[in-house]
Amino acid sequence: MARFIIRSILSTIITMLLVSFALFFLLEVGSGDVTVKILGIESTPEQRASYRAQLGLDAPPLQRYFDWLIGNDFRAEKLVGYPLVSIKNQQTKEEEWWANVDGQLTRWQMQKGQLLALRRQPDGSRTKHMVSGGWQTAKNGQEFFWGVDTDNRAVKWVRGAGETVWVRTKAGFRKEGDGPRQYIPLRKGLLRGDAGQSLQTGRPVAVTLIPRVRNTLVLAGVAFLFIMPLALFFGIMAGINEGKPLDRVISILGLGATATPEFVSGIFLILIFGIWLRVLPAVALFTSADAIFSNPKLLALPVMTLALVELGYVSRMTRASMVEVMSAPYIRTAIIKGMPYRRVVFKHALRNALMAPITVIMLHVNWLVGGVVVVEAIFGYPGLGKYIYDSAIFGDPNAVEAAAMLTVTIAISTRLVGDLAYTFLNPRIRYS
């Protein structure tokens, strides 16, 4: 048993690595020049090249893959020469990188050819100091300095040979002299919980993603609570009445519900409840971050849409499993020996019949996530699915990668749990 578990977990880890590799390079190869999307098509090639360098996109792809996966602060640490720490800025709630110079948190800034050190005071403010020492000399005689700049990057300044760079500010794009020669945008890497910055918003992906994941969990959770009892009930009813009119009706309705795309059923529900009857809100308009809790009505239509598709699938599954069990010899024996029908169904058939659907449901999370993407897009529900959709349309690699990895992780881990649960429930499969 232990060997089986270890093997499953090992294979899961390999799968995850493969997924991350495929994801990164698919977006790498395909997404083209992201700087055009950010800066607009009017930007000049110099501006784009400068901005590419600032985003660290001029590094080789394989290195960026590892930066993305496990971070690059330890790599930058060697260059800077001081330990790098990231602390949370209390105002923006974002992580900031500082170099720890002998117990003093420091960043550097270049102004008119003069290097300034910004020292962080305990209250969060910073003081400026002139820096004269600390420059290193390269083999060709050039003097250079590696430091952490104010935009969370490890940068390399070369004395007397400042690069002309284009700096993106809130007001627009500004040309500056004295720029660094090389940039390493500092990040902790996905495995350490840092998904990097969204190119679309300029904020860390995680800051946006977390509340959205919560919204999606609420949506999927509520839908799940509705689906399970109903689907099992319908499936069992159809299963024990195999071939009778009730079974036919349930099966055909179930097939119809499964075969109707989410956006079709969603739109019909909007038509019926939102437009003709006017009893439920037709869009999930969030007026505050906690709108789903203060106004649960918002959830009604998304949950119904999601439930309709899943309901059909799970009840078909349950029916098939129930039919199979009901035709098993031991059930026939129980009926023949005169046991009450109700007792046969509840005591003998049900437990065996439910095993398949319950594990299948665990494997089915993939589908649920897919449904969530569409449902959230229909209703404008701010969740994980909408996030993937929006960032895929914009072509925001960091955001797409982080969100897709999250969905894959959810899917794989539930599948692992499903596999393990199945082997516990059904010992016969264990050694096969």
Binding site: S11, I14, T15, M16, L18, V19, A22, L23, L26, L27, V29, G30, S31, L255, G256, T258, A259, T260, P261, E262, F263, V264, I267, F268, I270, L271, I275, N366, W367, V369, G370, V373, V374, A377, I388, Y389, S391, A392, I393, G395, V400, A403, A404, T407, V408, A411, I412, R415
Partner: protein, 308 residues
């Protein structure tokens, strides 16, 4: 597709198509299957008809906007005053009959996006599944590991990632359907190959000294035909489902050809004014998918009954 095929190539290879038809025609014994077949045939006929005739040009705004169904426009008009019936008819073509190649030219190859996508996943999946199932050992381990990684992606997410990476277009959608479908096909083929390779005729072929490729593609694959056919029918349904969803999300097949999903998406913005433009394309997608599902169900029922 199913009816068109025997008629289409009957002159070329009657014997093999005859066999295919014999496999498919058992579906007529099942009531559900016949209903499904009728729905599918209806749409195929509509698609063929739209090649030669639509009531009005599908892309020109000839009428008042957002009309309900009336005598001139049987299904009404959309938000740009285009005839909805013509657009629906034309919309079947990209799914079932033609694939437009990238570029400005109006070059199209026969066979719709859904069909090529399913063909692609069958092709890729069969190769992977046969190698994993018949060769076993490391081949099996590596192939299944890679497939596990692909299956781990929620399908829609994989579509979104592929389209985010490669852009829009008929070929990209075909590629996306191929990639998402291949793991499922490969698993099916692998399990079938594991079963079939224990049979005597495979042992005979091995003793004769046939090559690996011969055994895999000429001995095992033809004998795995039945379940694969059912799976393919279901997959065409999924593909149409997926194309509709992508179109609805605004990421599907590009204009100028109308795309059902995109028609729903555009009409949705005027849903308060005109519900018909939403209802008809939705019904079209749902009916075609349900039809293919029923057909596949009927086929499976009959094939497994025959085996029992």
């Amino acid at each position: 597709m199913t009816v068109a095929q025997p008629a289409l190539g009957a002159s070329k290879r009657p014997s093999r198509l005859r066999k295919l038809w014999d496999t498919l025609s058992v579906v007529l014994n099942s009531r559900i299957g016949t209903v499904g077949l009728a729905i599918v045939v209806f749409w195929v006929v509509i698609a063929l008809l739209s090649l030669f005739w639509t009531p009005y040009p599908p892309n020109s705004s000839l009428f008042v906007q957002n009309l309900p169904p009336n005598l001139t426009n049987v299904l009404g008009t959309d938000h740009l005053g285009r005839d909805l019936a013509s657009r629906l008819m034309q919309g079947t073509q990209v799914i079932l009959l033609k694939t437009r190649l990238p570029g400005d030219t109006h070059v199209a190859i026969p066979g719709g996006v859904a069909l090529w996508g399913v063909f692609g996943s069958l092709f890729l999946g069969a190769i992977l599944g046969l190698n994993a199932g018949y060769r076993g050992g490391w081949w099996d381990q590596v192939i299944m590991q890679v497939l596990d990684a692909l299956i781990a992606f929620p399908v829609i997410v994989l579509y979104l990632v592929i389209i985010a990476a490669l852009g829009q277009g008929d070929l990209v959608v075909i590629f996306a359907i191929t990639i998402t479908g291949a793991p499922g096909v490969a698993r099916l083929v692998r399990s079938l190959a594991l079963d079939i390779k224990t049979r005597d005729y495979i042992r005979a072929a091995e003793t004769r000294g046939e090559s690996l490729a011969y055994i895999m593609y000429r001995e095992i694959l033809p004998n795995a035909r039945g379940p694969l056919l059912v799976d393919a029918m279901l997959r065409v349904g999924y593909a149409i489902f997926a194309i509709g969803t992508l179109g609805f999300l605004g990421l599907g097949l590009p204009p100028p050809d109308p795309d059902w999903g995109n028609m729903v998406n555009e009409a949705r913005r005027n849903i308060f004014l005109n519900q018909w433009a939403v209802i008809f394309p939705s019904l079209a997608i749902a009916s075609l998918v349900v039809g293919l599902n029923l057909f596949a169900d009927g086929l499976r029922e009959e094939i497994t009954r025959y085996q029992k």
